[in-house]
Amino acid sequence: MHNIQCDVAIIGGGPAGLAAAVSAKKQGAQKVLIIERDTALGGILQQCIHPGFGLTYYNEELTGPEYYGRFIKQAESLGIESLLDTMVLEVQPTGKIICVNSKYGITYVDAKSVVLAMGCRERTRANIQIPGTRPAGIYTAGAAQRLINRQNEMVGREIVILGSGDIGMIMARRLTLEGAHVVAVVEIMNYLAGLTRNRVQCLDDYDIPLLLSHTVTRIVGNERVEGVYVAQVDENKRPIGETEEFYPCDTLLLSVGLIPENELSRATDIEISAVTNGPVVNQFMQTSNPAVFACGNVVHVNDLVDNVTLESEIAGREAARYAMGSFPQVKRRISLETGNNVRYLCPHLLDIADMDEQITLYFRVLAPEHNVTITAKSGDAVLYKKKAVKVNPGEMEHVTFKTGEIPASSDCVRVDVTKEV
C-alpha cells in the first residue's frame, strides 16, 4: 500500500482547494498536498468558460479557467504537490485519508491537518419530486454544462430550464449561443434564485422568457423527453391546475439548488449544520475536529468564487498554523445568532483568541426585502449597522466587525435584517 506524509492535505482541487493550498504554503507549511478526483486542477471552473469571475478579488473580469489558472501558476511556483485522478474513499476521525488512483492503487495520506474543499453537488429531479415518466433528456444544469463545455456534446435542441439559479441562467445563454432554442426558464419562487446580473446578461439580452411563480408539474415522453407541463403556483407553491400548459421540448435542465457535498465529512464525525448542510466552522474555518478545516461550497453554497477564495485563504492559513503548532490559543467562544430574516451565518461561531481580529460573517436572508437595515449586535454594543436598498436570498450578504468590539460580558453576536419603517 502506498503511503504519503504531509503537513496539510487538501481534499479537492477546485477554487477552494487551490486558494487554501496557496495560502497554507505561503503561511509556511512545508509539504502541502492537493488530492483531486479529476484529471486536472480547477474543479467546476474548468467548465465555466463564461466571464464574470474575479470582479471583487482581482478587480477584473475573468473566465473560470483564467481565474483558477492564476492559482495553478502560484501553486506550481510554490511547489505545491497534487495527486490527480484520485478519489478519496474515506477520511478517518484521526485525519488519516484513504484514497485511490490507477497509478498507486490504495493510498494512505497522513497529514497534520486536513482541509475539506469538496464543493457541492446539484439537487436532482427526485429531490423536488417532479412526477411523470423517466425518459432521456433530463439533465442537471451542471452536468449539461460539463457535456457541452468539456465533452463537446450537445444535450438537446428545444430546452426548458427549471430553476433560475445561476448555472441555469448561464446555461440558457450558452445553449442559445450554440443554436438551441430555450423555450423558457421556469422558477417556482416569485423572485429570482440567482444573481440579477445573470438575469440581465443571460436571459433578457437573449429574449428568453422567465416565468416566476411557475413550476414543471409533469414530464412527458417515453424514450426521450417530449415536453413538460408548466403551471403557475399559488402562494403556498402549489400548482394551480387550470393554468397548466404543455411546453413541447426535448430537454429539461434543472437548476434547482446545490447541496454541499459532505459524504466524507460525515465519516469524520464532525458537526454538520442542518441549515447549510455543511460543517459547522469557527472564523478560522476550523470544524469541530480541530485538525480538520473546511472552505468553499462544502461549507455553504456561495454565489461568487471571489468569496470562496477569501474564506479558503483563511482555511489554508489556519490549517498550516495548526500543522506547525502555531495555532492561536482560544480563550472564549462566542455563539452567533440568526436574528430577523437571517437564514444562516457563516462562520457559525467565533473562537476568540487574544488578538483583535477582523471578522466577516456571511449570510443569506430568508425572504427578499426592500429598504432594510442590517445590524450585528452583541449585548448593548452595535458592531455593524448598514442600510441596504434590497436584499434577496439569491445574493449573499455580510457584516464585518472586530473581535475587540465584542463586550467582555457578552457571549453572543446576533445579526438582524429589519425593514425600515
Binding site: 492503487g105 490504495i106 460539463r146 456534446e153 444535450v155 435542441r157
Partner: protein, 479 residues
Amino acid sequence: MLKTDVLIIGAGASGCAIARELSKYQLDVMVADKNEDVGGDASKSNSAIIHTGYDASPGTLESQLVVAANPMYDKLSEDLEIPFERVGAILPAITDEQFEKLPSIKEKAFKNRVYDVEYKTAEQLLKMEPNLNPEVKGGLYIPRESIIDPFLLVVALAENAQENGVSFLLSTKVTGLKIEGDRIAGAETTAGPIEAKYVINAAGLYCDEIAHMAGKDDYYVNPRKGQFYILDKNTSCKVEHIVLPIPTKLTKGKLMCPTIHGNMLVGPTAEDLTDKVDKSTTREGLDSIETDVRKLIPKVNLRDSITQYCGLRPNRNPEGLHVDTYDDVKNYVNLSGIRSTGLTGSVALGKYVAQTLIDIGMKAPFKTNFIEKRKNIPCFHKLSRNDQNLLIKQNPLYGKVICRCETITEGEIVEAIHRPIPARSVDAVKRRLRAGMGRCQGGFCGPRVIDILARELNIPVTEVNKNNKGSYMIAGKVR
C-alpha cells in the same frame, strides 16, 4: 434462417429463469426480447422482495410457485452471486379491526404451507422495529420474506443461461407466430423469421398480444401501476424488516423495507390501467404513498427520496397466474397473469415450464456439463482495502472511481459493457452496477458513463441511449 428447439419470447425474470432451466438439457434455446436489455419491463420496477407466499390464494398455481421458489434463493443467490438477504417481514396491526384479522392471515399462511409465521406482541414488534407506529396492537412475523437485487437476478439468470448455450436476441420484437397445422413452428421477428419446435410466451405485459398471434384471445392484460419512492441511505428514519400493512383484496398494500443496497423502498400504489405505456408517476399517487405508509412508520421522511419510479404489473383479466398449453396449437406454452409475485416465482416457474414441455412430449436428455455457478463483476467497494489494491494492480481501471455516490469504478463499467449479456446503455450499466443510482442520480457520473459507453462500444456518443432505441442522451457535437 435462425433455427432453435425452444424459442422463449421475453427476457424478463420469467423468460430468463426458464432459459436457465432449459439450458440444463441438451436443447437449442433462444430468447427474444424487444428491449435492448434483459429485465427491461416489470422485472426492473417492482418491490424487489422474495415473497414466501403466505398471503397467496391457497391452492392456486401462483401460491404453488411462490411457496416452492422461496427456499431456492439461498443456493441460487450463492451460485449466481446475487445480493440477497433474508431480512424477514413484519405485519403490524395498527387498529383493533386489523388485529382481529391476524388469525385469519396466519391460517391462510398455513394453508399455503408457510408454517413459520409467528405472532409477535406490540412490545416485541417495537423492539424489532423502533420506528414502527407506537399504537401497534401486535402482529405477525414472517421470517423468510427476503430482499434481492432484482436487476442482478435477471442478469445473472440470463448470463448463466448464456454460458450454458442459450442465445439471446435483444432489441428483437416478435411480430407474428408461425403455426403449421395444429402446431407451432416458429415466429416472425424484427431480426427475421425463427424456426422453433417449441415456443414459450413469457412476454409479461405484452403476453396477450403474443397470445393473440397464436389465436388465443381468452384474456387480456390489465396493467396495474405501482409507484415507489427510494430514499437516501442516510435517511433519518429507517427500518430493518419488510414492514407490510394488512393486505386488502386489491393489493398487498404500501410497505416500507430496506433495499439490498441499504436504501429504503416505500410503496407501491396499485392503480388499474388500460394503457401499457403509461409508466409515469403522479402527484396523487406519490402523495397517497406518504399518507398510507405514515400509518405504519409515522416518521418516514419522503423528502429524503433520491428517486421515484413506476412499474406496471402484468395483471390479467380474468385474474390468475396461468401456464396454458393447447390442443389446437401444440408445442406452444402461454404464460399469463405473472404479477407482483412473478420475480419470486420465476425460478420455480422455470422448472414448471420445463416439466410442462416434457409433459407435452419434449424429449431432451440432461447435459452432463451444465455450469451451475456464475461469477459477478468484482464489486470494488465491497472488497477489503488489500483486495482493492490487488485488483487495481491487475487492472488499473479499477483505480478510477466514476460513480462517486456508490463508488463504482471504470473497471467495473468496462467489464459490464463486455459481459456475455452486455450493458449497452446508460440504464443497463446502472442496473448492473448502480452507477447513477445514488443520491446524485448520475449528475456526476452520467456524462462520464456516456463517454465510456461510446468508447467501449466504438459508437458515436449520439448513439448512446438511456435504454431503448430513441432514448438518445446526446443530440450532436457542439461544433
